[in-house]
């Protein structure tokens, strides 16, 4: 198990993770990062989607190792 930190920007506010989460490995950390994007985006709608919802994963030494973002595109047709 290793410690990973997940900094999440929900489009309104950037939250810096100073606690971290114990996970098996980097692959597990990627899965967690992807899994958290959709619920965070959903809970912040509609305001959160004015810009992308992003997550940056840092390792135990607090170095960034992964980044993902979720963007919603919306337009009035008429």
């Amino acid at each position: 198990m290793s410690l990973f930190y997940f900094d999440i920007n929900d489009g309104l506010e950037a939250a810096y993770d100073d606690t971290g989460t114990e996970l098996a490995d980097r692959a597990e950390a990627r899965k967690e990062a992807l899994a958290v994007l959709a619920p965070v985006a959903r809970e912040g709608l509609p305001d959160s989607m004015k810009c992308a919802v992003t997550v940056t994963v840092r390792d135990g030494a607090k170095r960034p190792i992964f980044h993902a973002s979720l963007t919603l595109v919306e337009d009035w047709i008429e």
Partner: protein, 253 residues
């Protein structure tokens, strides 16, 4: 009164001296169990009902992918599995979350309480209905509330339930980030984000990754928490008097 089981049941209505004496016998032989130990497994056909005297236990299911869903919390004074006295095989597991003191109550003791102690029978029925009400509230929580409101609501509930049995020593919730995620149906990382959010709003404190309520009123307002579904002090509130058959009348409205 040291008997946390009696304290819990008294929320349903008054108990008499004979009830108190019987409940004293029921809890007289507890055993210790460490954190994260199973009391009963899914599929077991148990002979005893379990009662939590100290600590915290949970009702849970393990999904095929190995993840866990926690569907109930058992706090001091709570009976874990009254239904095993009636139903056969367990359809879920029960395990401790913290170090616990547990009492095993044989099925025939439960039968005796139900047959010969009407006030206790009433209170046990009440506690089963309250368990259902809590489950309803959790369902609403999971389906309809945002995760931050959902977590705040859970903290308010645990706080209120501990206070109702005089076990609220330091307002500390012995729940880890992972356990909170398994209760709320969100990932551990998401749970961590929600905890940080509530802490940054000054609603909770976090020490050594344990949460305590900082401002209950603000937290319950944030969570839109109404304690009515816990039905505390019910016997006094609605005039129900389980002692009626012993000649004591309803209290005047």
């Amino acid at each position: 009164m040291n008997n946390v089981f009696a304290r819990k049941l008294r929320n349903a209505g008054p108990l008499g001296p004979d009830d108190m004496e019987r409940l004293e016998q029921v809890i007289s032989d507890p055993f210790e169990l460490g954190a994260r130990e199973d009391l009963i497994h899914h599929g077991d056909d148990p002979e005893n009902v379990h009662l939590v005297l100290t600590g915290m236990a949970c009702r849970y299911k393990i999904l095929p992918d190995g993840s866990r869903a926690i569907v109930a919390l058992m706090l001091p004074g709570d009976i874990c599995d009254l239904h095993v006295a009636i139903l056969g095989q367990m359809d879920h597991s029960i395990g401790t979350l913290t170090d616990c003191q547990i009492v095993r109550i044989p099925k025939n003791t439960i039968a005796d309480l139900l047959d010969n102690y009407p006030r206790i029978r009433h209170a046990l029925f009440w506690s089963t209905l309250v368990d259902e009400a809590i489950l309803r509230e959790w369902l609403v929580n999971m389906g309809r509330r945002r995760s931050d409101h959902q977590m705040a609501h859970l903290f308010c509930e645990v706080h209120t339930r501990l206070a109702a049995v005089d076990q609220l020593y330091d307002s500390l919730m012995p729940l880890t980030q992972e356990e909170l995620g398994d209760i709320l149906g969100i990932s551990s990382v998401h749970a961590q984000r929600v905890i940080s959010g509530l802490r940054n709003q000054g609603l909770i404190n976090v020490q050594d990754s344990r949460v305590s309520v900082q401002d209950f009123d603000a937290l319950s307002e944030f969570a839109e928490f109404e304690a009515d579904y816990l039905h505390l002090g019910e016997g006094r509130a609605n005039g129900v008097d389980a002692t009626a058959e012993h000649g004591a009348g309803r209290s005047p409205a």
